[in-house]
């Protein structure tokens, strides 16, 4: 296959940045979650943004499209606010005004996720003063320090990671409860059928998750868990910090497609809990065989069908590619702009064993004009961006790992691939929708 500066063979690529930075194109694919989707997982909380009109538009319509306008308010800032006035005062008084209006309309909030923006950083905002004043005026409201500051995202934590961290900052200091664990910071709840969840439940561990909290109090009560677990990379920094602050044990168990890595994670958990190392319902050998059989059966069905993967589908797209390649599938291309450092091992394996696999940029300027069409053979895309760029109706419609974990997660992925191979989806209708898995009115 001919390579270009936006599609290169993995053998010619650099880790972890295979492509040169430049102007960026944004594809019409929006299933991944943004700070509105993530933050509004916190029950009863509202979001308040303080920013310029152009920056406001995207988040407010995200909330509107997920039928959550009633949980969203904002303060518009203009040139005068930034240059002649004090942006901190505008922020404080604006937020107070929002609260009073909400009080008058009978929807006084328990918690406010207050988002400041790039301009606050540049104008040297005094965050302690902003939050301190608000907390003293409204002591019955929990104010969360959140940021919509993409200018900061090329160094340090992204706004998404900072939000996941902020959401855990009001967990209360309390005595931990024995036999409790909290899985925190993920967009999707951990699959009930996953080996991790089954293992915890079989051993009578009470498992709490963001998604299963019905009230704000439920959310806060997750602090009672003795063990904090992060299974999603973007959650790691926040969950680890919360565990440290509250004196909890912490385990990072990222979802992946590597049997050895999963086994090591499960072994560490077993050692921590000091209990039986096997699931009562399934031995590891049985699960391994089940996965093997599932993949063989899928391979028989797909044959040499071309498979293209993208980075939005799961935090470990290279790991997924490696697993499929090892089992004989015809993976040809991976859409990815930068490589997760956790994927170095998978990257090196592919580079050595399948050096011609193509890495394809999604934001490169030329990508705007390079949509594949007129394909005679069926192509299976894993992920929305791959489906969009390859213009195929056969795709696994999933983002951010969907809460899949372990061998069961790998089997579930095989099932999703089969479903996508056999059935067409309306790509044009599906992929521009925001926040896959959230309510959508469009």
């Amino acid at each position: 296959m001919q390579t270009t500066d936006y599609e290169i063979a993995i053998k010619d690529s650099d880790f972890p940045k295979p492509f040169k930075n430049g102007l960026e194109y944004n594809a019409s694919v929006h299933g991944t979650w943004n700070i509105v989707h993530i933050g509004l997982q916190m029950p009863e909380a509202i979001q308040v943004y303080v920013c310029a009109k152009n920056c406001m538009r995207g988040v407010i319509l995200t909330a509107a499209e997920m039928n959550a306008s009633d949980r969203f308010s904002f303060v518009i800032i203009n040139e005068e606010n930034m240059i002649s006035e004090n942006i901190d005062d505008v922020t404080i008084e604006g937020v107070c005004d929002v609260i009073e209006k909400r009080k008058n309309s009978g929807c006084y909030p328990r918690a406010i996720q207050l988002f400041t923006v790039c301009a606050h950083h540049f104008l040297g905002s005094d965050y302690n003063r902003i939050y301190g004043t608000l907390e003293s005026r409204y002591p019955d409201i929990d104010f969360y320090r959140c940021y919509m500051d993409p200018i900061m995202q090329k160094k340090g934590l992204t706004p998404d990671q900072k939000l996941r961290r902020a959401m855990l900052e009001k967990l209360k200091v309390c005595e931990p409860k024995e036999n409790t664990a909290a899985i925190l910071g993920s967009d999707f709840p951990l699959d009930e059928h996953s080996c991790l969840m089954r293992f915890l439940k079989e051993n009578d561990i009470d498992v709490r998750q963001n998604k299963t909290c019905k009230t704000y109090d439920d959310f806060i009560s997750m602090s009672e868990a003795k063990l904090f677990i992060a299974t999603y990379p973007a959650a790691k920094a926040g969950v680890e910090k919360a565990a440290k602050v509250l004196g909890r044990d912490f385990m990072y168990m990222p979802s992946n497609f590597d049997l050895e890595e999963t086994e090591n994670q499960m072994r560490a958990l077993v050692e921590y809990l000091g209990i039986s190392s096997e699931l009562k319902t399934d031995t590891r050998e049985i699960m391994n065989n089940r996965l093997k059989e599932r993949l063989i059966s899928l391979l028989n069905e797909l044959g040499k069908t071309e498979i293209v993967i993208d980075y939005t589908v799961h935090p470990r797209p290279l790991g997924l590619a490696k697993m499929l390649l090892e089992h004989g599938f015809n993976v040809t291309k991976i859409y990815i702009d930068a490589i997760n450092p956790e994927e170095e091992k998978a990257y090196e394996w592919i580079k050595e064993n399948r050096p011609d696999i193509i890495l394809a940029a999604t934001i490169h300027v030329n990508r705007r004009f390079k949509k594949e069409t007129d394909r005679s053979e069926k192509l299976l895309a894993i992920g929305q961006k791959a489906a969009y760029f390859e213009d195929t109706p056969h795709f696994v419609n999933m983002v951010a790992g969907f809460g899949l974990y372990g061998i069961d997660g790998m089997i579930a992925m095989a099932e999703l691939m089969e479903e996508a191979f056999l059935n067409e989806k309306d790509t044009r209708d599906i992929v521009p929708r925001k926040g896959l898995g959230c309510e959508s009115c469009v």
Partner: protein, 365 residues
């Protein structure tokens, strides 16, 4: 406070307005912004993004480059992209941070033009205004850059035999933000004219260049007003302000099943030229008392305001004004602040984005 909003959204921002105005002309638009402007634009404000290619990009400005004033990366990235895709022009627009750090966009555009050989210009913007400002400034900047008196007066898109007896006209102020996607529907209502160019839908840059040859400019939305005034000054082309009503417009009002009685107070909220058209129709047809509410930053000169117009600044303001109405006509999201009123839904892409796009498509089909 006029700056706080409890439930209503804001209108599309100025940066999106710039991109929308220049979308169809084969140019390249670069938003100087860290992230978000491009995604917001193509998700909520641009109905053509999926199906029609246009070179609109974001610079991905970083904290370090913003603080240190590293414009070189920005310039190099533009030049690289220009070499790759060879656009007909390069337009730059700005988000808040480059505005705050005083980026010299005019100088950068000049440099880019010199180095690339491609016409380049800056559309004054800073992410703090609504789309009407962005579209308006983009159309004006485009006119100033490309409309120059030269050659014969024959429009690019009209054959000699066809155009002889008709008045030549430009249509100014066309973007999907205001006309909900279907430019042809609006343009067809001007079949008595030979259309020289339409700023900026269904026209090429070559047609735009010929705009000086028109006998009259027709301002079909408030966003075309500044370009019209400039062309009057520059080429002596007079302008008229107004948008013809279409059968589809009448159909929306009819299908709303809202009973309009004589002397009912009908308040119309939205883009002022279109709202005047609807107000005139409703006033004439039902003998209702219509009042215009303009929530946008762009306004018409008083001499052009043939109907009384009230300007609103934010949610609190509009909520207060609408209390006096019997009937409200506007984007369905205004229902949030129109409790107890009879309401005629008139989806406006620049307000509710794609939320009611299916409804819009239904009435256009």
């Amino acid at each position: 406070m006029i700056n706080t909003y409890r439930i209503l959204p804001v209108y599309t921002g100025d940066v999106s307005g710039v991109a929308s105005a220049l979308y169809e002309l084969g140019g390249m638009v670069v938003m100087h912004d860290p992230s978000g402007c491009n995604s917001t634009y193509n998700t909520h404000d641009e109905v053509r993004w999926y199906d029609r290619e246009s070179a609109i990009y974001i610079s991905g400005l970083s904290e370090t480059d913003a603080i240190l004033g590293n414009d070189k990366k920005f310039i190099d990235d533009i030049l690289f992209a220009a070499t790759e895709i060879r656009p007909k022009f390069i337009a730059l627009c700005s988000a808040p941070i480059p505005y705050l750090n005083g980026t010299d966009f005019v100088g950068i555009a000049k440099l880019v033009e010199q180095k690339s050989g491609i016409p380049a210009f800056f559309v004054e913007s800073n992410g703090m205004h609504d789309y009407s400002v962005g579209v308006s400034k983009a159309m004006l900047a485009l006119a100033k850059k490309f409309v120059k008196e030269s050659g014969d007066k024959t429009p690019v898109n009209v054959s000699e035999s066809k155009e002889k007896n008709k008045t030549k006209a430009n249509l100014l102020g066309l973007t999907p933000l205001d006309i909900n996607g279907n430019a042809t529907r609006v343009i067809n209502t001007y079949s008595d004219y030979d259309i020289v160019s339409s700023f900026c839908m269904n026209s090429s840059i070559e047609e735009i260049e010929k705009a000086w040859a028109a006998d009259v400019n027709i301002v079909v939305s408030v966003t075309g007003f500044e370009a019209a005034k400039w062309m009057e000054q520059e080429f002596g082309i007079p302008y008229i302000v107004g948008r013809n009503i279409t059968d589809a417009d009448k159909e929306i009002i009819r299908k709303s099943n809202v009973v309009i009685n004589e002397n009912d107070k009908v308040y119309l909220v939205g883009e002022p030229v279109y709202m005047r058209t609807l107000a005139t129709y409703i006033g004439d047809s039902f003998k209702a008392e219509c009042k215009m509410i303009n929530p946008l930053e762009c306004i018409l000169d008083k001499t052009e305001a043939w109907m009384e117009e009230m300007h609103t600044q934010g949610e609190e303001d509009v909520e207060e004004i609408l209390k006096s109405a019997d009937i409200v006509l506007g984007d369905p999201l205004y229902r949030y602040v129109s409790e107890g009123k009879r309401f005629i839904d008139m989806p406006h892409l620049a307000f509710s984005g794609r939320i009611f796009l299916k409804n819009i498509k239904e009435f256009l089909d």
